[in-house]
């Protein structure tokens, strides 16, 4: 049974529709990540689930109960804010104990629960400090501690790592995943960082302009993106797109004219794409140097040597940017033409509407 379910959820601010009818089911214990570019409505969606924003239409159900009009605390959720929202005048102890003080729990119970949370988060030696004396990572942990003590059914995280530096971010990412394993509670996590989404999520919800673009496991989104938006959003460096026109689609192969790059024949069962303008997608990491099933020649403008791999940036004759990612340190130089190729089974094909064609 799903623990959280959104049914045709909508949100408008005056005339502007921010969330345009979202349906989603989240099962108990799942780690769900909402990901999307800024302004796609992912934070608004989270705040609606939290009870901070009113619902304009549709329903939010938690454990089978419609919670549209319930305050956050009655929904059984806890939220961690992007800026941590710690109370600067209170000690770490009092910050973590705040929800328990609101509930007016006896001091012994407060001690026990704060102690337990501090232990989980390794904050025991910091309990008497003020938030201002802590590092970014520790503040983040205090904010998480404040969420844990309530023992909520669902944890909500609003871009919790975006204020940390890169090294700390990957550290906290692992800590959060361990925390999820230990607590086993449902977590919903909002981020614009697709690396966070890919590494942490059981299920990723890709949002675009207030609508769900695709829902699925990280690898599902990577290997089988439903549409151009997801294909471009998931994966780093970005997937390369080449536009073309389908000459022939006979139910077994689709023959596509790529202009000056030649023609390519892809195994596709769809016949509907015949004659359409289509977009070909190929991930930079699926390119290899030299000849292969389909080859093309480009001249890299920029070559980035990262040690573990090498990234080339070039422009195709049609004006599209073309990125290549190769293992190790092959002999590539800026301004020197190079022959790249890719296997046909790694190519994604999108029709004129941007939907994937299989």
């Amino acid at each position: 049974m799903s623990q959280l379910s959104l049914k045709q959820l909508e949100k408008s601010f005056n005339e502007a529709r921010i969330i345009k009818g979202i349906d989603l089911d989240v099962s108990e214990g799942e780690f769900v990540v909402f990901v999307g570019p800024s302004g796609c409505g992912k934070s608004t969606l989270l705040r609606m689930i939290a009870g901070l924003e009113e619902v304009s239409g549709g329903q939010i159900e938690i454990s089978g109960q419609v919670v549209n009009d319930l305050p956050p605390v009655k929904r059984g959720i806890a939220m961690v804010f992007q800026s941590y929202a710690l109370y600067p005048h209170m000690s770490v102890y009092e910050n973590i104990a705040f929800p328990l003080r609101v509930e007016k729990l006896p001091q012994a119970e407060v001690d026990a629960r704060v102690g337990a949370a501090a232990k989980v988060l390794q904050l025991e030696s910091r309990l008497q400090h003020r938030p201002g004396q802590l590092s970014g990572g520790q503040r983040q942990r205090v904010a998480i501690g404040r969420a844990i003590v309530r023992q909520p059914k669902i944890f909500l995280f609003d871009e919790p790592l975006s204020n940390l530096d890169a090294a700390l971010r990957s550290e906290m990412r692992i800590e959060l995943m361990e925390l999820h394993k230990r607590l086993g509670s449902t977590m919903i996590y909002v981020t614009h960082d697709q690396i966070e989404a890919m590494t942490m999520a059981d299920k990723i919800v890709v949002l675009n302009a207030g609508e769900i673009s695709q829902v699925g496991g990280p690898l599902e989104l990577y290997h089988k993106p439903d549409n151009l938006f997801v294909a471009g959003f998931i994966g780093s460096p970005k997937m390369n797109f080449i536009s073309g026109k389908v000459r022939k689609a006979d139910g077994a192969t689709a023959t596509i004219d790529l202009g000056s790059l030649g023609t390519i024949a892809l195994p596709r069962t769809s016949t509907a794409v015949a004659g359409q303008d289509v977009t070909l997608g190929i991930r930079p990491e699926h390119l290899s140097l030299g000849e292969g099933e389909f080859g093309l020649e480009t001249t890299p403008n920029i070559v980035e040597q990262l040690g573990i791999h090498t990234i080339t940036y070039s422009t195709l004759s049609g004006g599209e940017n073309f990125i290549g990612l190769f293992e190790g340190n092959p002999a590539l130089a800026e301004g020197q033409p190079v022959r790249m190729s890719f296997p046909l089974d790694k190519v994604h094909l999108f029709d004129a509407k941007g939907l994937a064609v299989y």
């Binding site: 939290a50 009870g51 901070l52 305050p71 956050p72 605390v73 959720i77 806890a78 939220m79 804010f81 992007q82 800026s83 941590y84 929202a85 109370y87 600067p88 005048h89 705040f98 929800p99 003080r101 609101v102 509930e103 938030p131 201002g132 404040r146 309530r150 204020n163």
Partner: protein
């Protein structure tokens, strides 16, 4: 480390007065805080000049309070007393027996006004800072407009109002208009201060089950304390300064009169006892000074402890 050593050398080259740069404390100051010796002198001279202009009346007043009355009207007038004593500070209590009462009244009225203003302004400022409700902008504009009228313009309508409410010749006659005129500007001040407290703190408290009032008490009030102290100080001073006009118009009972009116008792039929008048003024200001010094400590403490950091 080398960076620091380098900047010290630069400072040494810059100022010829610095012979042994490493021994001078000046070298540890940030570059932006470093001044040449003549710049420092000019700064202090400027401050001294300004302070003299501001404080000259007070200095003169204090010196008058030390002189015997005869010396005040001597020619040539001597600014510095030839003979001086604290006699006025003793005699004033007998020449105006109600003086103690007047000082108490001033203090009492201002304290009550301050308490009323703070109690009204804190929730009002929170509401204006956090809730969007119909007419909020209009009300704030109205408050600003009220501030454009001085109390004196409204004396006659206020008098009629006080009379129909039966408040004339009571403490309330001075407290109620005093508070009313000070509330609007305080709401503006504290509202701005509270708007700087991140909204996410309210939201976090709300998510954790706190009511609006609980959030106000446990989260907003402690963080807004420096702002509230500023409002309290401004109100207290404002109430002290403006009670003159309300006392003069709405009250005729000597025992309720605050100090500014009480000082008229030193104006005799034949002469004005200037030295005792000045002494009484200084003693009358003392409570205000004490209150400010006490509140200021909270102000500084609040500023350092409640720093709102993201």
């Amino acid at each position: 480390m080398t960076d620091v050593a380098h900047t010290t050398e630069v400072a040494a080259v810059d100022s010829p007065a610095t012979v042994k740069p490493k021994a001078r404390v000046k070298a540890t100051k940030a570059m932006i805080d470093r001044y040449k010796w003549y710049e420092v002198v000019a700064l202090y001279a400027g401050i001294a000049l300004f302070l003299f202009f501001v404080l000259a009346p007070f200095i003169e007043g204090f010196l008058v309070s030390l002189k015997p009355l005869s010396q005040l009207f001597s020619t040539p007038y001597s600014f510095i007393p030839k003979t001086w004593s604290f006699d006025s500070y003793v005699n004033m209590w007998t020449s105006v027996p109600m003086l103690g009462m007047h000082i108490f009244n001033s203090f009492f009225i201002s304290t009550l006004v301050t308490l009323i203003v703070v109690m009204v302004v804190v929730p009002a400022a929170y509401a204006f800072a956090r809730f969007s409700f119909a007419g909020a902008g209009l009300l704030l504009g109205g408050f600003l407009a009220v501030n454009m009228f001085s109390g004196a313009v409204l004396l006659i309508p206020l008098f009629r109002l006080m009379r129909s409410l039966g408040l004339l010749n009571t403490y309330w006659a001075m407290i109620v208009p005093g508070a009313a005129f000070l509330i609007p500007s305080s709401i503006w001040l504290l509202r701005t201060y509270m708007m700087r407290i991140p909204r996410e703190l309210d939201e976090a408290a709300w998510v954790d089950g706190a009511s609006r009032l609980y959030t106000l008490r446990r989260v907003i009030l402690p963080l807004a304390m420096p702002g509230i102290v500023v409002v309290a100080i401004m109100t207290f001073i404002g109430a002290y300064a403006q009670q003159f006009i309300f006392a003069l118009t709405f009250n005729s009972k000597t025992e309720f009169m605050p100090l500014p009116i009480g000082l008229f008792a030193f104006f005799g039929k034949q002469e004005v006892i200037w030295n005792e008048l000045m002494a009484a003024s200084f003693v009358g200001i003392l409570p205000v000074m004490i209150v400010i010094v006490i509140l200021q400590r909270y102000l500084v403490a609040g500023l350092t402890a409640g720093a709102i950091k993201q």
